[in-house]
Subunit: 448 residues, 2 copies
């Protein structure tokens, strides 16, 4: 009925320069917000119809927040008030810099300026078995799958007769102690203490183990050693087993094997160990820097092109202060998006562009209820409740402009006083599609 011949991008012709933005993350939306439909025709492509506030995605996975609290439809964000703005929900096939064309599943589009803001995806370092069996946490569907898996593991642990299987259902292994891994581990530890014993009075939660595994010699490696030390102490106080300098060798869906031979049986392995750029076909391979990022100059121009830019996590900009590129967090993406908007306006007026200069506002991570760590400019390190308040304010502040703010706030306040999570609904049971017996179990017990 509907096939590709009957579809087209349906973007109006224009005499203004056309800016095509690929990706509605922090970089893309901040660029569009600062551009005007009076000067440019702006086209945004994304394979999702929403912008996500990914720093809170772990909350969706641990049943603290629903997706609508951390995501906002892009069409709502850029509604009819945005002149000559066109969003298309579409998958990109590639770019052709020679003809200045973006290729999509339903047709090609000429650009005057192309902005690649595609961000990153999970990096399994080529280990297909780990990719197949572990849970990553980069998208809302992934977070909902992980949430279903967590809840189903408690249900299944309640009804299994085999103590070994029960233990493997109650062993949770989180690989990678960056912010996502740390926040996930802290959140699970709080559920174990405050929520789960009430829900599952028949289960012995002293047998539930949370392992946080990191290849380097400290947790939160991008933060200061002070923050790392505080974080590890907080986590260990909460009963998380932190394993440093430990690398995963393999995971077959039942047993994690670490380099060196140690093994843990676990049904739930969360992979938060690294990301790589979500690249687009059509750019020369020699532009791809470490971490699968695209090399750009200090104007975010992709090396060798005047009209192609990359911003945010996908961009690798080497500067004196940041010889390994900027950190892969929201701030560089936001600032690059805003800065590039100014430079595009300069370009069409034939004015020289200005260099991007990253203003480091510091970094924050939350470990649990009223506990966080912060590295602030001026070598200032905070911990505990003060850092938690800072974390809360920064996140609420950046959610401004989102309707979600209200929901997030009321949820946070509610949880603060009650320790309660309201969203422990198994909406679509997670089915590990490669494991026939598991599938049989869940399909026969399917909930819908």
């Amino acid at each position: 009925m509907l096939n590709f011949d009957q579809l087209s991008l349906n973007i109006p012709d224009t005499t203004k320069p056309r800016v095509v933005v690929i990706g509605g993350g922090f970089g893309g939306i901040n660029l569009v917000k600062k551009l005007s439909g009076k000067d440019f025709q702006i086209v945004m492509f994304d394979k999702q119809n929403y912008h996500g506030f990914w720093p809170l995605l772990y909350q969706v996975a641990t049943a603290g927040l629903e997706p609508d609290a951390i995501a906002e439809p892009l069409r709502k964000m850029f509604d009819e008030d945005y002149e000559d703005f066109h969003f298309r929900l579409v998958r990109i096939l590639g770019v052709d810099p020679l003809t200045k064309t973006v290729k999509t599943m339903i047709g090609d589009l000429h650009y005057d300026y192309l902005v690649i803001a595609t961000g990153t995806k999970a990096n399994f370092f080529g280990n297909e078995q780990v990719q197949k069996y572990s849970f990553s946490l980069k998208t809302i569907p992934e977070a909902l799958n992980l949430r279903s898996q967590l809840l189903q593991s408690f249900e299944q642990a309640s009804i299994t007769k085999d103590p070994d299987i029960r233990q493997s259902l109650l062993n949770y292994v989180i690989v990678g102690a960056g912010p996502t891994g740390v926040e996930m581990a802290g959140s699970l530890a709080e559920m174990r203490k405050h929520v789960l014993p009430g829900d599952y009075p028949g289960l012995d939660f002293s047998k539930m183990n949370i392992y946080l595994v990191e290849g380097l010699d400290r947790v939160l490696p991008p933060m200061s050693p002070e923050a790392s030390a505080k974080t590890q102490k907080y986590l260990e106080d909460m009963g998380v087993v932190v394993k440093l300098k430990t690398l995963v060798e393999s995971y077959d869906g039942e047993t994690v094997t670490f380099k060196g031979g140690e093994q843990i049986r676990s049904q739930t392995v969360v992979w938060a160990a690294g990301v790589t750029g979500a690249l687009i076909d059509g750019l020369p391979k020699e532009l791809i820097a470490r971490g699968g990022r695209i090399t750009v100059n200090e104007f975010n121009q992709v090396q060798g092109y005047n009209d192609i830019f990359a911003i945010g996590d996908i961009a690798f900009m080497k500067t004196e202060k940041w010889p390994n590129g900027h950190p892969g967090v929201a701030q560089p993406a936001i600032q690059q998006g805003q800065h590039l908007a100014k430079n595009l306006r300069r370009l069409i007026k034939n004015e020289p562009m200005t260099k991007f200069d990253y203003f480091d506002k510091g970094s924050l991570a939350i470990i649990g209820r009223v506990r966080a760590v912060a590295d602030l400019p001026g070598n200032l390190h905070l911990g505990g409740f003060v850092a938690w308040v800072a974390w809360l304010f920064v996140h609420i502040y950046y959610l401004i402009g989102f309707r979600s703010k209200l929901v997030v706030l009321s949820n946070w306040i509610y949880r603060l006083f009650t320790y309660e999570r309201g969203t422990r609904l198994i909406i679509r049971p997670f089915v590990r599609r490669d494991k026939k017996e598991m599938e049989e179990f869940v399909v026969k017990n399917e909930l819908s």
Copy 2:
């Protein structure tokens, strides 16, 4: 790995009488709330891990509310404060009244008292084609599928070149003008007026048609003629095309054909035309009354059994006042659950049971923002804003005890002042699995 041999229901032995409740709807939860673990061991089975406030399910389908606002985990509702209560997420195979046993996928369980509270499911009157291609609205996954379909139809209408296909994407046919159909039609009409033109500036929403189709001669047939007339007027004022005395002959996924020959091309047909009891194997066929319900006496006892009860929508209790049984809404289920709890306590004390007497509090339906109709006891009929306020208070009142209350309230207040819906996220694109081309389209464009 996990197979059925390794699982068991794992319910502790007991010397108390064991009450097994099948279903965590309004009947089941109100029964359990009034029973005490001091007198009984209480076991609840459900194939979902949550209780849903289904009168608001249409809000999930039209992106007004997220699932957590209308559903509550059963384990949270009956937590450790409920002595000797045991919830199991499990699918029921049947009952054996001779051995007093409930059979599940993972083992059998003996009962002293069995309460069937399984409610209803959509009734397609044997029309398999309609069942295959239309959307029903009885469960959260169904509501989320319908939401995805609605949002995708606008996205696809934005990019199709073929005006016939665009029109069929913008034709929405709702079959059945009961409360669900009416609320769905009203909600879609409000989206068309207040929300969609901002999101899709390139689409001409004067071409979006909402058809509400009813086989009988008025909308809301269970309510008073006054309420029906008011409702039809409100709907028509909002631009809904109401088609009475109209029956669906067939729907092949592209064209709805009505009895008499009229046809409408539509990609989205919502089936809200009827329900039938969600029966359990093992009871004699002659007990099944009209609408697939189980015949009970005025103690909710299933005919012929002293120890099997049915409550709520699944129960057919013929009384002088209600010769066709009680209406299929929340109130009879709530009252029967509460009443049966008292009777079970009487039974174990060898006291005589008391008859169930339904207290009709009236009925309510909402048509749109600040418009509703109400039939109250004493032949009192309300409409407009007053009925809407009544609707709001009744729904908020029955959400008390739910955390959701807060979320629902804040969402409602927010929407009241902004006309805004925050949850237009296509989280898991709906795939019409029987249509190869559509699947190809969506799978290749999949969002996750």
